[in-house]
């Protein structure tokens, strides 16, 4: 352990800065979780333990409705985004370097760079034109929008997995009479699964959580869970919001744990 030279942990103030960051990050979340069990109507005054807000949220038809919609959108969007991400990852790792490859990489990751509000406004205007032209006002707009911004999140773990894979394995597959399609199906895909699952779960969580783009793109009566919660904030705030947030937090934490476990199985 006797490391010479610069050690960031030995610097004055390191501990206090670290503590400050952790407190700022997690204290509000801890408070949110605690007050979701508040027996009273307030989100700031503790009146004893109760499950009432969880029951209330569970029985709230609007919450049910928004939850189902959120799950449909997140499921569809993560499936579409992951499929596109697999193809994009193959095209950026398994071909001879081609002109415009860097550009393609940047384009795939565009949603990470462009401010979300810009994408949201652009989608609002574009979809308005499509709506006028087609008359369709269903969920597809939200699904398409979510798929688009979920692609880079699905792409990253899949690409990392492909890059970490031994190229000799695919050559060995070809050497043993495997056509390119068969090699992908029997050699590449089985080893890519952890990356694909990780990408899909990340995309799912990102979609579930989105507010800005959803708020702009959704039609009337198409609230997702986050936009419903945002709407509630304009009225009376009850610990029901805390309860819903805590439930979302639990889902996300479970997903993140699964994500890490999947990526760890790589030896």
């Amino acid at each position: 352990m006797a490391t010479k030279g610069f050690n960031v942990r030995k610097q004055t103030g390191f501990n206090s800065i670290a503590m400050f960051c952790f407190v700022m990050l997690y204290l509000p979340i801890i408070l949110l979780v605690i007050y979701s069990f508040n027996a009273g109507e307030s989100i700031a005054v503790w009146e004893g333990f109760s499950w009432r807000w969880y029951v209330s949220a569970w029985e709230n038809e609007k919450v049910q409705d928004a939850t189902i919609r959120s799950l449909i959108i997140a499921t569809c969007a993560s499936l579409i985004a992951t499929s596109a991400a697999v193809l994009a990852a193959l095209a950026t790792t398994r071909v001879k370097p081609w002109r415009g490859q860097t550009l393609a990489f940047a384009l795939v990751n565009q949603p990470l760079m462009v401010p979300e509000i810009v994408t949201a406004v652009a989608l609002l205007i574009f979809f308005a034109m499509v709506k006028v032209a087609t008359g369709y006002t269903g969920l597809a707009y939200l699904i398409v929008a979510h798929s688009a911004f979920c692609i880079p999140f699905a792409y990253m773990p899949i690409r990392a997995r492909l890059q970490g894979m031994d190229l000799n394995l695919e050559q060995a597959g070809a050497d043993l009479y495997g056509t390119p399609v068969k090699v992908f199906r029997h050699i590449t895909l089985p080893q890519l699964w952890p990356g694909i699952l990780a990408g899909a779960m990340l995309a799912f969580v990102i979609s579930l959580d989105d507010v800005v783009i959803t708020e702009f793109v959704k039609s009337a009566g198409q609230d997702t869970l986050p936009t419903y919660m945002l709407g509630q904030l304009r009225r009376v705030i009850t610990p029901e919001i805390n309860a819903i947030s805590t439930a979302l937090l639990a889902v996300s934490v479970l997903m993140v744990i699964a994500f890490f476990l999947l990526n760890r199985t790589r030896k």
Binding site: N168, Q171, G173, A174, D175, L176, H186, K267
Partner: protein, 358 residues
């Protein structure tokens, strides 16, 4: 029979261009154990990958039994590879790895099963058939890689330094094992190695490569006893080089005048580079002996005596200039012994020294 004609491979272009293969032509017979031997970067692996189909040559042709291989993608060539890293499929078991090629060829289930069993027996891996490939040792992985490549009964088996990751003892065992397998299966083996001893032990013929070209092709004895040029003589085994004068040559023999003025018979150059004048002679250390200074073809002073267990190396500073090493196998009762500083004479019988091409 594999016929490679004028194979050239240039990687990159312009100032970055690198010529990995330069006009390589070679014919490899069916059922031959053929070795490509050379230092790293000599183009031997490139040539192997050209045959496998992973690299397209810039020029040249590759034919297998009269059929143009270059028209076929890797998965249509009746050629299998044992990769240096083995490249076993980590998500499949030992048996599934071996079955892979047969399944891709669409062989009937019963045939696949019996061939896999036969292969497992052949490489003595039957008890571990259901293990994952990550759960077996390096030597076992090597045998699985071999069985997987042999199972589809290719016409040609390509082996890319398959023994380099094994320890010394295992490597020795596998050398004999490979030779036995090649003999039993009757498949043409093309073996790539940088290990000259491995090449000499196993091969029917060896092609010594350097800087993208084949320098000499021949049987192990030809290559070892009659190297055609300095690179080959130097790369394979230890060699003494002597500057000398070629007086005349006829047939296999050349009359040579050494720097001491004494004359000796040498092997003429196999490529016909036997013009009178200054030439380089190669003499293997074990082909020369030490004697009294006045009776030798060359005389000198012993500078070092190095004991190696099986043999002893005597380093001699030749009076006319240059160094010369004599190797003598150690016997239980060593009668004659020399010490550093002794005056000695170097002797070698007529016909063991070899005239080299420049």
């Amino acid at each position: 029979m594999i016929e490679i004609d004028g194979a050239t491979k240039i990687f990159g272009d312009g100032a970055d261009a690198f010529t990995a293969l330069k006009d390589v032509s070679v014919t490899i017979d069916s059922n031959e154990f053929f070795t490509l031997l050379g230092p790293s970067g000599c183009g031997k692996t490139t040539l192997l990958r050209v045959i496998a189909g992973f690299i397209d040559p810039t020029h040249g042709t590759v034919q297998l039994d009269g059929e143009n291989l270059l028209d076929l993608p890797p998965f249509k060539r009746p050629v299998n590879t044992v990769f240096q890293s083995y490249a076993l499929f980590p998500h499949l078991t030992v048996a599934q790895n071996i079955a892979f090629g047969l399944e891709m060829l669409g062989k009937p289930k019963a045939e696949i099963k019996s061939t896999v069993e036969e292969m497992l027996e052949l490489v003595k891996m039957a008890p571990l058939a259901d293990r994952k490939t990550s759960e077996i040792s390096g030597g076992q992985q090597q045998r699985v890689a071999l069985a997987r490549a042999l199972a589809p009964r290719p016409k040609v088996l390509l082996l890319d330094e398959p023994l380099s990751a094994l320890d010394f003892k295992l490597r020795k065992e596998m050398q004999l094992e490979l030779k036995r397998l090649q003999h039993e299966t009757g498949i043409t083996f093309i073996f790539v190695t940088h290990d000259q001893e491995e090449a000499l032990t196993m091969s029917d013929r060896i092609a010594v490569m350097n800087a993208g070209t084949i320098r000499q092709i021949g049987g192990p004895r030809d290559i070892y006893d009659h190297p055609a040029e300095r690179f080959v003589a130097d790369f394979i085994g230890d060699t003494n080089f002597l500057e000398a004068e070629l007086i005349s040559a006829s047939g296999d023999t050349a009359q040579i005048k050494l720097s001491s003025g004494k004359e000796v018979q040498a092997r003429a150059n196999p490529d016909g580079a036997n013009a009178p004048g200054t030439v380089t002679l190669a003499i293997r250390p074990e082909h020369a002996t030490l004697g009294p200074a006045e009776s030798g073809l060359l005389s000198g002073t012993l500078s070092d005596v190095v004991y190696f267990g099986t043999d002893t190396h005597y380093h001699v500073d030749v009076d006319e200039g240059g160094k010369f090493v004599v190797r003598r196998q150690n016997q239980p009762e060593q009668t004659q012994s020399h010490a550093a500083g002794d005056r000695v004479g170097l002797r070698f019988p007529g016909g063991v020294s070899q005239v080299l091409r420049d």
